[in-house]
């Protein structure tokens, strides 16, 4: 198990280095830079002013030098300054992380707590009216884009209740805090819940057909014991994988949800930073997301090993 852990950690570092190179150079391939955008906003371009500003921001230097500045800065704990706000990048990014983390966490919780039980029920009750109903709901969850669902929720709340579940930075009561995150988390988590449910259902159906399940039943184990102890434990691996991947994909859904619900999290901030070509913000933020995704995959790998010991011995 220790060798497995070390190998995974090493691969994680190599992946992060590769990602840093890709992030940096892909960002520079995108046409236009912050100076172009600032002058576009000013409605004119003065070559001398433009050159001065490029020099001031250090984007006139060779790419390799810029990359080295960034990476060596990161290793020293220096995240640079936002080109737009002229504040330290870390000061801009850090306060937004907990907001997105809460939202993503709640969405994942929503996804797992709804998706897994409903998936199990759907598999156990295969072919019944309940199964069909749940399958239609899951299909709708996969088909509805989260921005549309978000707008639908907002419009319905304003039309029917005259209320707007818009982000409240200083919630005074638990209810206010819950309302701040729960509605957008449900909007973004609905798709994940549907996906989790479908994977749980198909995985469960496969396991339920296995001989050892029949043996368990023959031995007189109760339905609950068979379904949850014998079947679910073996069917859960693909579900864990999907939830892990969803954690990574969630950031995409969050960009839209944060925009629709006007939540000042990192996802919306990232899009805005890309629009401005605010390199220090984009690089550090994408790197942070990469760390989260790679780490989530690492956790999934570890969970695999815990749930299925064959993996750590054969890997």
């Amino acid at each position: 198990m220790f060798a497995y852990l070390v190998r995974r950690l090493f691969l994680m570092l190599v992946t992060l280095f590769g990602i840093s190179v890709v992030i940096f150079f892909l960002l520079r391939i995108v046409p236009g830079n912050i100076v172009d955008i600032l002058f576009a906003a000013a409605g004119y371009v003065d070559p001398a002013d433009k050159a001065n500003l490029e020099k001031e921001l250090g984007i006139d230097q060779p790419l390799v030098v810029q990359y080295w500045h960034w990476i060596s800065g990161l290793l020293r704990g220096d995240f640079g300054y936002s080109y737009v706000s002229e504040k330290p990048a870390l000061q801009e990014i850090l306060p937004r992380i907990p907001i997105t983390a809460r939202l993503a966490g709640l969405a994942l919780l929503f996804s797992a707590s709804i998706g897994i039980p409903l998936g199990v029920i759907s598999a156990v009750k295969q072919g019944t009216r309940l199964d069909y109903t749940l399958r239609v709901i899951s299909l709708s969850g996969l088909s509805l884009p989260s921005f549309w669902l978000g707008l639908l929720i907002l419009t319905a709340s304003v039309s029917f209740f005259g209320q707007m579940p818009i982000f409240n930075p200083n919630p005074k009561t638990f209810l206010e805090a819950f309302a701040t995150y729960a509605v957008p988390a449900a909007a973004v988590g609905f798709r994940s819940a549907a996906l989790t449910m479908r994977i749980t259902r198909s995985s469960m159906l496969e396991v339920l057909r296995q001989d050892y399940i029949r043996t368990a039943r023959a031995k007189g184990a109760s339905d609950a014991s068979v379904n949850y102890h014998h079947a679910l434990k073996n069917a859960i691996l693909p579900v864990i994988t999907v939830i892990g991947i969803e954690a990574a994909f969630l950031i995409g859904g969050l960009i839209v949800t944060e925009t629709v619900f006007n939540i000042p999290g990192v996802a919306r901030f990232l899009v805005e930073a890309i629009r401005w070509r605010d390199y220090p913000i984009v690089q550090n933020l994408v790197m942070f997301i990469a760390v989260v995704v790679v780490f989530a995959n690492f956790i999934v790998d570890m969970l695999y090993a815990v749930f299925d010991p064959r993996i750590r011995f054969t890997d």
Binding site: D36, L38, G43, Y44, K87, L151, G162, N262, E272
Partner: protein, 532 residues
Amino acid sequence: MRSVRALAAMAALSLLTVPTTIFAGEGKQGGVLRMYHRDSPANASIHEGATYSINVPFMGVFNNLVIYDQHIAQNSPDTLRPELAESWAWVNDNKTLTFKLRQGVKWHDGKPFTSADVKCTFEMLMGKSQQKFRQNPRKAWYSEVNDISTNGDFEVSFNLKRPQPSLLALLASGYTPVYPCHVSPGDMRTNPVGTGPFKFVEFKANESIKLVRNPDYWKRGRPYLDGIEYTIIPNRSTAILAFVAGKFDMTFPTHITIPLLKDVKSQAPNAVCVVEPTNVSTNIIVNSTSAPFDNIDIRRAMAMALDRKAFVNILFEGQADIGGTMLPPPQGIWGMPKDRLESIPGYGPDVNANREEAKKLMQKAGYGPDKHLAVKVSTRNLAEYRDPAVILIDQLKSIYIDGELDVVETANWFPKVARKDYMLGLNLTGNSVDDPDQSFYENYSCGSERNYTNYCNKEIEKLFDAQSQEIDVSKRKQLVWDIDKKLQEDVARPIIFHARAGTCWQPYVKGITIMSNSSYNGFRYEDVWLDK
């Protein structure tokens, strides 16, 4: 005795009526005005910006030397009011503009305001000081100013190369606040210090902007509001829904499109909504440096094929204005009268007749039903650019031109235009002051950085200067109309329409005036109050 009683009765009556009159016009102190902001401005420095995303939230932090009356919708020379200047006078054959400055005014950090602040602000704008702005988009406004001189702490003079009566109009723009000498341009971007009714508290990019009442404001009893808070909501649907739900007292100015206005009125029937021109024209930039638009016949044919009314009907449900370079009357001060406008080729009411003429010009240039001209219509990737571009492509079909939409991201738009890497461009031009000097020199003068098409006509250049020096307004108007007509005939930057847009606020918000010929000059908000 009867007369004494009568006098007493009259006195009592006057005591009852006078205070009522005063209170009816007075606002209540207190409350925070909550608004949404349509996007996150690059920074807080008005002098470095060229969008009213900066003016709207930060104009209240500052004062100008002079300002347009904030309660009269139409900006004009008659509505100029003193602000940091108590008075002004033209001397030296109208070549020197001298201001007597208000005394006892303090910057928000407690330092006194003096003539040195005025001098350093305008020297920075003219590019003549040690400290430089990162960007200086309105440098051209001061091209006729030789230097700025001070006489003691409270008198300052603008010494001009030649008379330029419009200088006062430019100084009254929301784009012309006076900056403090003791704060660097960098600090003004992140932590602006002004003399205005509201003090800057914080600007969280993509999140919020907060201002608080300046308790030491030089104008006694102002502002009424305790503060103004802007929540930045780039998504228009979310922002409008939040206004309808009562989360905001007011929408971002001119943010409600005409089609959306009906939705707002149906969902929030008590809201007060006004529709005004924004002084933003939608126009075509033509690359006349290379084929096929180096041929004046093809340029003219294109301009003559425009059905401007169709644009206005489709995009604005009829509520937009057709005009030349200057905003048309009645809101515009300098726009051509209808009869003069309709005498310009392509502006006549009979679109079919115009297009027949256009077809003849196209045939002269070698095109016809069997040989269409293929062009790319480039534009920015924003709805207000894309939508008219699509209509333009559709209209050009009628004169054998097959257009293809080329959508360009904002970051690449100006570099592309500057490289002349386009054939036709669909463009929006915002005019911050309804004055020909602002529009003509900025957009059509030889060598101007914002003259995207490099249109250069030495004859017209002389007329620019002639109108600029003309003190008699009616004579100046005639000159301006001649220039405007010539610009349209030369297809310098064909104007399609002048947009209108809506602004809404809750009925308890008082003292708001939306400017009818500018989107940049009406946000001091010191007289705004909440009746609740």
